[in-house]
């Protein structure tokens, strides 16, 4: 093999390795359990910068959801800068997650949004739209866990989005 071909092969391998490394650096998981509630979220952030959120909202440990419905929801959103003064406060960046729970589980035509602070402490707030504006309807703290190892919830606890009941 000519020297120039060898260099070319090396460069291609280097670029592929660099791209792979960059891709892996820009994808990471954030898994949270809502304290005092039975649900968890396993979220993946991707992109460059890593702002795209996709993941699952797992309610399989919740006992009072309709057993005929899937206990797993699929959620999307963005990580973005936001105001310190708006709940959950305490961070200039939030995970902003769109959730179908009110429509899917409660059969209500209402939007539901989670804002989650994971930079300093784990804290969350939910906003609903029931015809009176985009209203804060619940908030709390959360804790992180390793992928596939969610903590056991307290017996009889409610899903985080049912805090208004």
């Amino acid at each position: 093999m000519k020297r120039s071909s060898l260099v070319l092969v090396f460069v291609v391998f280097f670029l592929v390795a660099l791209a792979s490394a960059a891709a892996s650096e820009n994808t990471h998981n954030v898994n949270i359990a809502f304290n005092g509630h039975c649900d968890t979220m396993e979220l993946t952030l991707s992109g460059s910068p890593p702002i795209y959120i996709a993941g699952t909202h797992d309610l399989s440990a919740c006992t009072d959801i309709n057993p005929n419905l899937s206990p797993i929801e699929y959620v999307v959103g963005f990580r973005h800068r936001f105001y310190w003064s708006i709940d959950p406060r305490g961070s200039s960046k939030v995970l902003d997650v769109m959730d179908p729970a009110l429509g899917y589980y409660d059969n209500l035509p209402y939007a539901l949004e989670y804002l989650i602070n994971t930079d300093e402490t784990c804290a969350w707030a939910i906003y609903e739209d029931t015809g009176s504006g985009h209203v804060l309807s619940g908030a709390g703290t959360c804790r992180f866990f390793k992928t596939g190892s969610p903590p056991t919830p307290r017996a009889g606890s409610q899903p985080s989005f049912e805090t208004y009941k």
């Binding site: 910068p49 702002i51 795209y52 996709a54 993941g55 419905l69 899937s70 797993i72 929801e73 699929y74 959620v75 999307v76 959103g77 963005f78 973005h80 800068r81 936001f82 105001y83 003064s85 708006i86 902003d96 997650v97 769109m98 959730d99 179908p100 729970a101 009110l102 429509g103 899917y104 589980y105 059969n107 209500l108 035509p109 209402y110 939007a111 539901l112 949004e113 906003y127 609903e128 739209d129 029931t130 015809g131 504006g133 985009h134």
Partner: protein, 150 residues
Amino acid sequence: MKKLCLVVAIVALGNLAASATDINFSLDTFCDTFQLTLTGTPKVYLDGVHTTCPGLPNVLVGGFLHTIPGMGAVLDLSDPTFGYTEMSPYGWEFITNADTRQPCVWASYLYYPGTPNVLYETGTCTYFTDVDARPNVSSLRPAFKDPAVN
């Protein structure tokens, strides 16, 4: 007198900040319309109605105005259509540009099992002030009826 003017100015500024802004747009080539109101202090709280097509239920949407790197200021909406209308456990998100002096563009994001990409649809949109003045769109499909998912 100066103090009175100062008080009036402060009150006027407060009212300006607190006043609501209506933003209405329709998705071009779809039958969907959004009639939104931006409120709050700071003025970032967004809520309103997503009207799909005749015969389909309307849903209430909401979210925040914020910035996204590479996109600038956006209106970011959570939409319950997949959960409510389709009985599917999928969160749906709409992003449109927040500067209504610019051409209206939108994208929606959806994550469902097996999808490699959360970007679901993109398109242009049109601002309007009177929903009744909108041309008949009954022949168009709603945005959530993408053949790839439905």
